[in-house]
């Protein structure tokens, strides 16, 4: 099945999960469009995935250099027009560094790189990427990160809570010491979502712990259709 929808997947030097993200887009019924970090053209895509990895070797801070790559100027502009953007792991870090999402991701408490299957609770279903879930639904997806501890000041946290912008919380244990068990958040308009765990690795029982992650990619197809 294909919907005719085109979803861009960005590759920076050091990106690892662009291939899996493109595969998840394809499983959801859309056409993945490979976008290179050095280009200024989004090629007319309907939504954008900023995948995980170690862009620019995580030099300076995770996501800091990537956040000012040429393609990100276009991503920031597109987000301003309401184009759905999903940042996964390093992609989440990049979206925070680019100012599309508040807060920051810092070194895990205890310093351990955490690689395991992680339960998540869906807290908000009003975003472009979670409309197909039910509130309180639990997902099982892999997490693999060393700098995944979400932090924000008290005012920002209160605002995220009040505006229902905490999208995912860790369930069954906080893997990195993240503030308020936060695994993922959304922009004020709900079009931009970032999360540390990897839904693109949980779309096929052959290669992942569940197929729960596919819901993000199918949700955005509905969101883009209703926006069109």
């Amino acid at each position: 099945m294909t919907t005719g929808m085109r979803i861009g997947v960005i590759t920076f030097p050091g990106t690892l999960d662009d291939v899996d993200a493109a595969r998840a887009v394809r499983y959801a019924g859309a056409e993945p469009v490979a976008l290179w970090h050095a280009q200024h053209d989004l090629e007319g895509v309907d939504a954008i995935v900023v995948p995980g990895g170690f862009s620019y070797g995580d030099y300076l801070r995770a996501g800091a250099i990537a956040s000012i790559a040429p393609i990100m100027t276009e991503v920031v502009a597109a987000a301003g027009r309401g184009t759905p953007v999903l940042g996964i792991c390093n992609g989440f870090q990049i979206l925070c560094e680019a100012g599309l999402l508040p807060g920051a991701l810092v070194r895990n408490a205890g310093l351990h790189f955490v690689c395991r299957d992680q339960r998540l609770r869906v807290e908000s279903t009003t975003t472009a990427w979670t409309g197909g879930f039910t509130a309180g639904q639990e997902l099982l997806v892999p997490i693999k990160s060393g700098e995944g501890r979400f932090v924000a000041d008290a005012g920002t946290l209160a605002q995220l809570e009040a505006e229902n912008r905490i999208v995912f919380r860790y369930a069954g244990g906080n893997p990195n010491g993240a503030l308020a068990d936060i695994a993922g958040i959304a922009s004020a308009d709900g079009r931009v979502v970032g999360l540390m765990p990897h839904p693109e690795h949980a779309i096929d029982p052959l290669t992942g712990p569940s197929t729960d992650g596919l819901g993000l990619f199918t949700s955005v197809l509905q969101a883009a259709v209703s926006a069109a």
Binding site: L60, A64, R107, G110, V151, G177
Partner: protein, 79 residues
Amino acid sequence: MHVAKVVVDVMPKPEILDPQGQAVAGALTRLGVAGVGDVRQGKHFVLEVDDSVDDETLERVAATLLANPVIEDWVVTRA
């Protein structure tokens, strides 16, 4: 053109947990060094800049790239 050295020191904000600093503090204990209470780890940048770079530009360099204002404080010093 005259070239000067500028130093930018970046530190995690006091309220941000610094597990790397804690690990260093723990290692000092294992080394047999007593009396070091807390360690916090930051970054030290040395920039070579010419006369065309004013203080306002240096502040922008620090605030937008060298440091993340959400989690870090910084000090710019012309050496």
